[in-house]
Amino acid sequence: MSVFLIRRAFHSLIVLLVMSAVIYGLIGLMPGDPVDLMISADPDVTAADAARLRAIYGLDQPLWSRYLHWLSAAVTGDFGYSRLYAQPVWQAILPALSNTLILLISSLLLALIIALPAGVFAATRPYSVTDYGINLTAFAGISMPPFWLGILLILVFSVMLGWLPAGGTPQSAGASGLWEHIQYLILPIAALTIAGVGGHTRYMRASMIETLRQDYIRTARAKGLSESRVVLGHALRNAMIPVVTVIALDLGVLFSGALITETVFAYPGMGKLIFDAIMGNDYNLALVGLMMATALTLTGNLLADVAYAALDPRISYESLDA
């Protein structure tokens, strides 16, 4: 187990390292550099000044040498300075990270609270009207453009009903109470929850249907157990194995959803931070933000493997490694 974990973590670190080089290279291909921005902000900068500035910041060096420079600083924990926020990168990221975690965790929990019972309920009466209803709703959920869902929520609850703010934060509106904070969270969390429910429901349903087909379920029924004991006591634990795996694998998808939701609602989280950093040529910030998104996805994959073997005694870590 620990050998497996260490080896997998090591693989993830290598992928992360490769990705840092790829992302660094891609960012180097984006139009403009920090000196270009200075020139456009201050027309008095001459070509000689620009060349000198580029030399000072090392922008005259080739891409690979800049990357090695960044990497050697990064391994000591120095990720540089964010120009957009005029702060060290970490100080710009931490508040955004906590905002995003609030959004991700609450919407994931809500989505599971809705999706898992709905999936089990549908699976226990396959091809009934209820099942078709749940299935259709789930299909509608996964087919909904996530940003349009946000816009529709704003249209209904902010424009038409006037109940909730259309976006932003309580800080930006100068409010402070607990209700004010929650008010600004309701629509983004709702949007992200609705976007996730459909997929989880379909996985839960498919997995439960497959499980209920197994021989040991027939045995449990033959023993005379009640249907609810059969489903909740015997089938559920096994049916959850693939579902847990998929939830972990989908952490990256969840983060993409957060990026869209945060952008639509002007919610100051990691997704909006990364988007603004890329759009604003804030290389240091964009790089670290993207690396954290990659790390989150890789952690999800690792968790999925661990959960898979931990929950199902038939699968050993050795067989996963082969």
């Binding site: 984006m30 139009p31 396959p126 091809y127 453009p145 349009w148 529709l152 988007f275």
Partner: protein, 312 residues
């Protein structure tokens, strides 16, 4: 002889079609998609019938209410909303289909070669595939969409074309979208290459390329078609997200995604502008998902039989 061959090859096709027809939702979805495609293709005709110009800016009639001339009203620049939606449909459907097909072709080629070659090469390719799957897709697509293609040294004539944002988005989606099909094809190739008919072809002196493309590939048609159909919806969603964020299709070329870019700011004056494009994306994506679902049932009858067994 040729007649016999024709009936033999047609019979399964007919059975598949008959099974697909039983899936009412999928049939209805296919009809909706056909209707949308025809309407989008007829955009210039409808433009002429209404007597409007898709790019005709008229600042005196901004946010116009629906009239016989403008059935869905006008947008923030006084352009006809209906005609812009239809032209946007051309772009969104084109991107969705070409990007998906490009990704499927790349995925099929990678999966076939990797599965057929096996060994270390296969292990390496699958590691790369796992790596690509592990990437945070949307943030990465945003970076890819933001890079300056000029720095890659592509020709100026290509870059100055007004459709450059179109080709770019197709390329970007194909670049990250090939993994599903590649894994699928590779797994099936691994098992198919040990079958007697492949060994027979090998014994007759067929080369690796011939075995891969003439003998193995035709057996993979069904899963590839199903996976491809099911991913068209996702690709259309991805295009709409990128265009909505201002990184996909660039105005004045309309797409359903970029028609929504400004809609949020004008939501108080013109809620309709925020509604129609999203509704069209939604309908198209859900229709592709239903068609994919129906195709899966039609092409994999065993899954259908299992379903029938569940009912009892």
């Amino acid at each position: 002889m040729s007649e016999i061959a024709a009936t033999v090859s047609e019979a399964p096709g007919r059975a598949v079609f008959a099974r697909f027809l039983r899936h009412r939702l999928a049939v209805a979805s296919a009809l909706v998609l056909a209707l949308l495609a025809v309407l989008a293709l007829l955009a210039p005709v409808i433009e002429g019938l209404l007597g409007v110009d898709a790019d005709g800016v008229d600042l005196f009639s901004r946010y116009g209410a629906p009239t016989p001339e403008h059935p869905l009203g006008t947008d923030e620049l006084g352009r006809d909303v209906l005609v812009r939606l239809l032209y946007g449909g051309q772009v969104s459907l084109f991107v969705g289909l070409t990007a998906t097909i490009a990704a499927a072709v790349i995925g099929t080629a990678i999966g076939l070669v990797s599965g057929y070659a096996g060994g270390r090469f296969d292990a390496f390719v699958m590691r790369v595939t796992d790596g690509v799957i592990a990437l945070p897709v949307l943030p990465l697509l945003i970076v890819l969409a933001a890079i300056d293609v000029g720095k890659l040294g592509l020709s100026d004539s290509l870059l100055s074309s007004e459709n450059v944002s179109l080709y770019r988005i197709v390329a970007i989606v194909a670049l990250v979208g090939w993994t599903t099909v590649a894994r699928l094809v590779r797994a099936s190739t691994l098992s198919l290459k040990t079958r007697p008919f492949v060994m027979a072809a090998h014994a007759q002196g067929a080369g690796a390329l011939r075995i891969m493309f003439r003998h193995i590939l035709p057996n993979l048609a069904s899963p590839i078609i199903v996976a491809t159909t099911l991913s068209v919806g996702n690709v259309i969603l991805l295009e709409s997200v990128l265009s909505f964020l201002g990184l996909g299709i660039q105005p004045p070329l309309p797409s359903w995604g970029n028609l929504l870019t400004g809609a949020q700011e004008t939501i108080w004056e013109a809620p309709g502008l925020a509604f129609y494009p999203g509704m069209l994306i939604f309908i198209t994506v859900i229709a592709f998902n239903f068609v994919g679902d129906g195709l899966q049932d039609a092409l994999d009858p065993r899954a259908r039989d299992r379903r029938a067994a569940d009912r009892h």
